[in-house]
């Protein structure tokens, strides 16, 4: 019943064909089509993907930093409008230069490719050498040209911000989570970075005296365990740190209440472990700041944080979004 016998064979045939096309095709195609299909599947190189993801994350981080800074500045509507105007003008200037640059750079690229080919084969043709040198110089000059485009905007950008806003921009460090004084308006100009350490010291001071000597060893052990895991300290360094920490905690514990309250910030600074590497990094940072101050005189555009964050055609839609938000409120 049901099927007539004469439909059975063609029906089976159709089913087998469909099965082959849908299921078997996926399994067997590499075998059938060989390298070509395999290369298609591997076209997205994992390393490439990683690089592009990292790039996207970095761009996102820069944008988040921008928002954190933006939110901490309390810009007025007029200031935002002025920033949009400056960036739109900058974008136009940039586009003109980019069109020129593309033409010149493609020529330079061709020269450099020819030069690569020549040296790959082991020859050093004079003419190609000169061409390659010129091409390399041109790319450097272009970098400078792009900086020069920014130059006239620097003064205008500086005029947009008030001195207090400039002070905030100057002290701003790129961040994903904004620091206390940008997050909490009450704490601007008074947020202490030692809050956690002060809290810890207060807790230590509240330990009952009969338990203190035992607790002292525990606290020092935990502290050493934490920092040695983080910094890979040598035995000598661990012994030194143990000694330092014990002395500091004893001093803190037996300190008078008033003295503690008056000096808690300094004590909290001492409480934080400073690794040798960090001390060196601090020194380096000081030198870098000196370098930055010198550089700032010679290269105001390249070192300006205002330019870094606020002269970028990409922020135009972001500013416009915020302006709309402000207008709708």
């Amino acid at each position: 019943m049901g099927f007539k016998k004469r439909w059975c064979f063609p029906g089976m045939l159709v089913l087998i064909m469909l099965g082959f096309l849908l299921g078997g095709g996926i399994l067997q195609s590499p075998v059938l089509y060989g390298d070509e299909v395999l290369s298609l599947q591997n076209r997205e190189d994992p390393a490439q993907r990683l690089i592009s993801d990292m790039r996207a994350i970095n761009r996102l981080k820069h944008r988040i930093s921008f928002w954190n800074l933006f939110n901490g500045l309390n810009l007025s509507r007029e200031q935002i409008e002025e920033l949009i105007a400056i960036n739109t003008e900058y974008k136009e200037k940039l586009q003109e230069s980019v069109a020129k640059a593309i033409k010149v750079l493609s020529e330079s690229r061709a020269s450099l490719e020819k030069w690569e080919q020549a040296i790959r084969d082991g020859s050093l043709p004079e003419e190609r050498m000169k061409e390659a040198g010129r091409a390399s110089r041109i790319t450097k000059e272009f970098r400078q040209q792009f900086k020069d485009i920014k130059e006239p905007f620097l003064a205008r950008l500086n005029d947009v911000f008030t001195d207090a806003q400039k002070e905030v921009i100057k002290g701003f460090k790129p961040c994903v989570v904004p620091p206390n004084d940008l997050r909490d308006p009450i704490r601007v100009g008074q947020a202490s970075s030692n809050e956690y350490a002060v809290r810890m010291l207060k807790r230590i001071r509240s330990i009952p005296s009969q338990k203190f000597s035992f607790a002292l060893d525990r606290i020092v052990d935990v502290h050493l365990d934490k920092i040695s895991r983080r910094y890979r300290l040598t035995d000598d360094e661990i012994a030194q740190e143990r000694q330092r920490m014990r002395e500091l905690l004893k001093k803190v514990y037996y300190m008078d209440d008033v003295d503690f309250e008056m000096n808690k910030e300094e004590l909290a600074d001492e409480f934080k472990y400073k690794d040798k590497l960090e001390v060196l990094r601090d020194d380096l940072r000081n030198i870098q700041q000196e370098l930055y101050r010198t550089q700032k005189v010679r290269d105001p555009v390249g070192t300006s944080k205002i330019v870094r964050y606020f002269l970028d055609p990409e922020i135009i839609p972001l500013l416009q979004y915020r302006l709309n938000l402000l207008q709708s409120n």
């Binding site: 001195d163 207090a164 209440d257 008056m262």
Partner: protein
């Protein structure tokens, strides 16, 4: 019934008789004043000192005279500020030598813009407050009895040493309400004034005339928080009333001490711009255009966590109203960086003191005068 055995009824009768006698004996003794306080109560009382401002009403009933609440306290009752307690007809204060906060702060934290800008101060605060503001940022300290907080023993003798450690010359009273620990302030001030230490107070101004006179005699700067300009809102928000605060402002102005006024704008409570305009007009008429007025941003705290922060636009509107009305020195506080943080010369408009929050980034004042036009800027500058 057998000899020596009592009936159930007699047993219960005797129990009731002797039991009631046993219970009422200590009460009777206490009433006659023959029973001593227990050891803990005695210890607590010993740490307190008799208050300065109270009067005996009748028997052991006393009435506190510090603030317009005039708390009427029976024996062992505690005032609404949580610092005063009636021990057998004597009003004691527990707010003495026991601050819960000692902190080195910029003097701008009071807030103040015309009192020794850029100087450091030592802030002292004792637990307790006579007001019960719904948004109090320090409610953990202000809405608790001082003897129940973690305190620091800070008697007057320690003050000069502590200040010289950090080269500080100003003692400020902030965070909680100085009115409730004014006996302590007076003691500190009388002791340290001879040693060249200056005093500045930030308070809500809900205080009676007599104690205020004493405070005025020791402090040289006052920052008064005028929480609203409507009595209903004042009651709802703080449990206090408006009139006494206005009287305090007038009294301080009359005394010639430096005065600044703060108005914290709380959305839906006192953000009505009509009210703000009224307040600015009253200040202009009664204390003049030179008293600085700070519009402070509200941040959700304590019982008003359901409200949002004060929008910047509201603060700016209030700031503009203050300027429009004719006040010379209007500020925005708790919002930074903002042009409202600066001090401007009312004559030529130059930004004289530029601030980021509590930090001064530029000071263009020369001997209390504008560096550009020479206009005298009122304040305490040296």
């Amino acid at each position: 019934m057998e000899k020596g055995i009592i009936s159930r009824r007699d047993f219960l009768k005797n129990m009731a008789r002797y039991g009631s006698a046993f219970i009422s004996l200590p009460l009777a003794l206490k009433y006659l004043g023959l029973l001593e306080e227990n050891a803990y109560a005695e210890l607590v009382r010993k740490k307190a000192i008799p208050g300065k401002y109270y009067r005996r009403v009748s028997g052991r009933m006393v009435q506190c005279q510090v603030c317009p609440f005039y708390c009427l306290l029976g024996d062992n009752a505690v005032g609404q500020c949580r610092t005063k307690k009636n021990y057998s007809g004597v009003l004691y204060t527990h707010a003495m030598d026991n601050p819960c906060i000692i902190s080195v702060d910029p003097v701008e934290k009071l807030p103040t813009a015309h009192y020794l800008p850029g100087h450091k101060s030592l802030t002292v605060a004792v637990g307790g407050c006579n007001l019960h503001c719904l948004y109090c940022q320090n409610w953990r300290q202000s809405q608790e009895r001082p003897e129940r907080l973690d305190t620091i023993r800070f008697p007057k003798e320690r003050v000069p040493g502590a200040l010289s450690q950090k080269d500080i010359k100003i003692l400020t009273y902030n965070y909680t309400e100085p009115v409730v620990f004014m006996e302590y302030i007076l003691e500190l001030a009388h002791y340290s004034k001879l040693r060249g230490i200056r005093h500045a107070i930030a308070m809500a101004g809900y205080i009676n005339k007599e104690p205020l006179k004493d405070l005025i005699s020791v402090a040289e700067s006052f920052t008064i928080t005028l929480k609203a300009f409507d009595d209903g809102v004042y009651r709802r928000m703080t449990a206090a009333t408006l009139r006494p605060v206005l009287d305090t402002i007038l009294a301080i102005k009359e005394s010639g001490r430096w005065l600044e006024v703060v108005n914290l704008i709380v959305p839906t409570y006192n953000d009505d711009m009509k009210q703000v305009r009224e307040m600015c007009k009253w200040l202009l008429k009664n204390v003049g255009p030179d008293v600085p007025l700070h519009f402070a941003r509200f941040v959700p705290e304590y019982k008003l966590k359901n409200l949002p922060q004060t929008p910047l636009s509201t603060l700016e509107r209030a700031y503009n109203i203050g300027k429009e009305v004719g006040l010379h020195y209007v500020y925005t506080t708790n919002v930074s960086p903002h042009p409202g943080n600066y001090t401007y010369c009312p004559s030529c408009g130059t930004a004289l003191i530029k601030r980021v929050g509590l930090r001064i980034i530029e000071n263009n004042l020369r001997n209390g005068r504008c560096s550009k036009c020479g206009n005298v800027i009122p304040g305490v500058w040296t």
